[in-house]
C-alpha cells in the first residue's frame, strides 16, 4: 500500500500527519521524505543515519576535440541549456533537464553523458516498542541545486514494487507543481493536509487541480481545526453542516462537500500540540485521542484503496 501525503500550502502539517499515521499502522512502515528541499522527518525519529548514498543524474559534456561547433545541440535543446559560443558550445547544468537530445543529435558523437551529483538519500531505521520497524529514507537536495523532481524520482524508484503487505508513506513537498507531482504519481492514495483558512482552502484547490488528472483516490485531512473537542465525530459535523450551511459558504467543508471530496478527519488546534511538535514529539505516540483519530484515518484509507482495487 502506497500513500502520499501532500498539501498545496506549506506548514499545514504534512510531516506531523506522516509521523502520526506511521504510529497506528501495525505493519512495517517505509517512509520516504520527498520534501527534498527541506526534509524534516529525521528530526522526529531522533536516530543516527545508518548510511547515505549520493544521488546522481546524467548531464552532457562536450568532447572539445571532436566538436566542430555545428550548433545543432544548441538548436535542438528545448531548455536553452546550451549556449553557442565562438569556439565550443557551453552547457549549463542548472538549465539542463537530462533529456538526452543533444547526445542523440550530435553528428560528431562529441557529446557524452556523465554522472552529476544533485543530492543524497539518507537511511534511518527505528524499532518501536512493538516489533514493528520504521524505515526512513530521506532525500536531501544539495544546496544551490534546483532539480528537486529528478531527485524525488530517483528516491522513489527502489520502492515502487513493494511486497503487498508493506506500507509506504511519502511526505511530499508543498505546492502544486512538478516536484509535488513527481512525489504523488504512481501512489495508491493521496492525503491532502490542509487548514481551515482562506489560504488553506485556496491552496487545497490548486492541489486538487493538480492531482485530479491522475485518477488516484484522495481525501482531505483538516489540521489546526477550529473545534473545541479533541475528539471529532462525523455525525456532529454533518449536523452542523446542515444547520449552518449558509454560514459555511466558501468554507473548506463546503468546498469538499460540493466537490465530493472525502474528509478523512480533523485535528484540533491546541497550543499543546504545537509545542509538542516544535520539540520533536510524535503526536499520536503522546496523545491517546490523536492516536484514535489517526487509527480512524488509516481505516478509511485502507477501505478506499480496497474499493478502488475492485
Amino acid at each position: 500500500m502506497k500513500i502520499a501525503v501532500a498539501s498545496g500550502k506549506g506548514g499545514t502539517g504534512k510531516t506531523t500527519f506522516v509521523l502520526s499515521l506511521s504510529q497506528v499502522i501495525e505493519k512495517n512502515v517505509i517512509i520516504l521524505d520527498c520534501d527534498v528541499e527541506e526534509p524534516n522527518l529525521h528530526l522526529f525519529l531522533k536516530q543516527h543515519p545508518l548510511s547515505e548514498k549520493v544521488i546522481k543524474i546524467k548531464k552532457p559534456v562536450i568532447n572539445e576535440s571532436l566538436c566542430v561547433n555545428c550548433g545543432l545541440c544548441s538548436k535542438h535543446c528545448q531548455f536553452n541549456a546550451i549556449i553557442n559560443l565562438p569556439k565550443y558550445p557551453l552547457i549549463s547544468n542548472e538549465l539542463c533537464h537530462s533529456c538526452g537530445v543533444c547526445e542523440f543529435i550530435c553528428p560528431q558523437n562529441a557529446i557524452s553523458e556523465v554522472d552529476y551529483q544533485i543530492g543524497k538519500k539518507v537511511f534511518y531505521r527505528k524499532t518501536g516498542d512493538t516489533l514493528k520497524e520504521i524505515s526512513l529514507i530521506s532525500g536531501v537536495l544539495d544546496i544551490g541545486q534546483i532539480m528537486a523532481a529528478p531527485l524525488i524520482n530517483q528516491i522513489k524508484q527502489d520502492y515502487m514494487n513493494l511486497p503487498k503487505n508493506d506500507v509506504l508513506i511519502i511526505d511530499s513537498p508543498p505546492g502544486a507543481s512538478c516536484s509535488m507531482f513527481e512525489a504523488i504519481k504512481d501512489m495508491d492514495y493521496i492525503v491532502l493536509v490542509t487548514e481551515p483558512t482562506p489560504f488553506g482552502l485556496h491552496d487545497l484547490k490548486m492541489a486538487v487541480n493538480a492531482i485530479k488528472n491522475t485518477d488516484i483516490p484522495y481525501g482531505v485531512f483538516i489540521n489546526k481545526a477550529d473545534i473545541d473537542k479533541k475528539e471529532f465525530s462525523l455525525d456532529d459535523f454533518c449536523n452542523r453542516q446542515k444547520n449552518e450551511d449558509s454560514l459555511l459558504k466558501n468554507s473548506l467543508e463546503k468546498y469538499c462537500k460540493d466537490n465530493n471530496i472525502k474528509i478523512l478527519g480533523q485535528l484540533a488546534f491546541e497550543k499543546e500540540y504545537a509545542k509538542a511538535c516544535a520539540t520533536g514529539i510524535i503526536l499520536s505516540q503522546e496523545y491517546n485521542e490523536v492516536f484514535n483519530i489517526f487509527n480512524n484515518v488509516y481505516t478509511q484509507i485502507k477501505q478506499a484503496i480496497f474499493e478502488t482495487g475492485e
Binding site: S98, A148, G175, F181, F199, K271, A278, T279
Partner: protein, 323 residues
C-alpha cells in the same frame, strides 16, 4: 530601488502574514507574490482591476495518430516516462459495450445505422492500440519528435498558467497562478519579476516587496535574483529552524544579506534559537487575530491597527539594514 523578499525555508511559518503587516509602512512600492504554486497574498489585499495574461512555457509533444505506426520508438527514448502504451483490451471491452448499447438504442429507428456503428467501433479499436503522451508529465524535450520515423510527433506550446497585475490600496500587486502539476514555476517567477520591474521602472517605485515561495529550490533561486535583502520568517520549532539553516547556507552562497523575524515565539519559550542576536529583526508572539483577520480577508494591521506597534520596530530595522 530596494528589493526585499520574505522567505522561510519551511512553509506555513507566516511569510505572507508578516509581509502583509509590514506593507503599509513602505512608501511607493510594487508587490509581487512569487509563491506561484500556492499564491495567497491576493486573498488579503483585495485586488481590483486585475489584468490577466497567459503564461506559456515549454512545449509538449503531440502524436498525430493518422501517421503513427505504433513502433514504440518514442516510448523507448523518453527519459521522463511520459509515453505509455495503452492497454487496449480494457478499452476494447468498453468500446464494444458502448457500441452494443448504441445499437440497442437505435435498432428500432434505423437499421442502416447498425452496421456503421460497428464499423466505427472497429475503426476506433484499431486506433486504440496506441501510445499516449501524458501531457502533464511530458517536459517537451523533443527527443520523441526526433526519433519518430513517421514524423507523427510535433511539439506545441503549453499554457502553463496565468499572471495578473492588480491595483490594491497599497499599490500594484503582481501575482500568478501556475496550472496544477506543471513544471516551470521558476520561469513564471522570473516572468512576474520582470513584469514587476517594468511597472516599478515606469512608476519609479522605491521598494519592491516580494512574498517568496517555501523551499530552497528552483522557484526560490529564481525569486532571489537581484534581491537586496531577505527577511527570514521562522518559528521556534525544530523543523523550521533546520529548514532555515539550509536556506541561510544558500543565501551565504549567493552573498545576500538577511535578517530573521521569529514568529509565534511564545509557542515554545524553551526554544533557544541558534541565530545570533545581531540577525534578529524582531519577535512576534502567537496572535490569534491573525487567523480571524485572514478569514475576513484583511491584513492584521487593517483588522486592528493596534498591531502596528508590533511591526513598526521590525520595519525600522529592515530600513536600517538596507540603507
Amino acid at each position: 530601488m530596494k528589493k526585499i523578499i520574505f522567505l522561510s525555508g519551511k512553509g506555513g511559518t507566516g511569510k505572507t502574514s508578516v509581509m502583509s503587516c509590514l506593507i503599509d509602512f513602505f512608501n511607493n512600492k510594487v508587490m509581487i507574490d512569487c509563491d506561484v504554486d500556492a499564491a495567497n497574498m491576493h486573498l488579503l489585499l483585495n485586488p481590483q482591476n486585475s489584468e490577466e495574461f497567459e503564461f506559456f512555457a515549454g512545449k509538449t509533444a503531440v502524436i498525430d495518430y493518422n501517421k503513427c505506426s505504433t513502433c514504440g520508438k518514442c516510448m523507448e527514448v523518453c527519459r521522463f516516462d511520459s509515453i505509455k502504451l495503452i492497454n487496449n483490451n480494457l478499452i476494447k471491452n468498453e468500446v464494444v459495450r458502448a457500441s452494443s448499447f448504441h445499437d440497442k438504442n437505435t435498432k428500432s429507428q434505423d437499421t442502416n445505422n447498425l452496421s456503421s456503428n460497428k464499423q466505427d467501433a472497429c475503426r476506433t479499436f484499431n486506433n486504440l492500440n496506441r501510445y499516449e503522451i501524458k501531457e502533464f508529465i511530458c517536459e517537451g524535450c523533443s527527443y520523441c519528435e526526433l526519433v519518430c520515423p513517421e514524423k507523427a510527433i510535433s511539439l506545441k506550446d503549453r499554457l502553463a498558467g496565468h499572471y495578473y497585475t492588480s491595483d490594491t490600496k497599497y499599490g500594484t500587486l503582481v501575482h500568478a497562478e501556475l496550472d496544477g502539476g506543471v513544471e516551470n514555476s521558476g520561469k513564471l517567477v522570473s516572468k512576474i519579476k520582470q513584469v514587476a520591474q517594468e511597472i516599478a521602472d515606469s512608476k519609479q517605485n522605491e521598494f519592491m516587496l516580494i512574498d517568496g515561495p517555501p523551499g530552497i529550490g528552483c522557484p526560490v533561486i529564481a525569486s532571489l535574483n537581484t534581491v537586496d535583502y531577505v527577511v527570514l520568517v521562522t518559528e521556534p520549532a525544530l523543523p523550521a529552524q533546520s529548514d532555515m539553516q539550509r536556506l541561510i547556507k544558500l543565501l551565504e552562497k549567493l552573498k545576500i544579506k538577511y535578517g530573521v523575524v521569529i514568529n509565534k515565539y511564545d509557542l515554545n519559550n524553551d526554544y533557544v534559537s541558534s541565530i545570533s542576536e545581531e540577525f534578529i529583526l524582531g519577535k512576534i508572539p502567537f496572535i490569534k487575530d491573525f487567523k480571524e483577520s485572514i478569514s475576513q480577508q484583511k491584513t492584521l494591521t487593517e483588522f486592528n491597527p493596534k498591531y502596528n506597534n508590533t511591526f513598526k520596530p521590525i520595519f525600522e530595522k529592515i530600513i536600517n539594514e538596507t540603507n
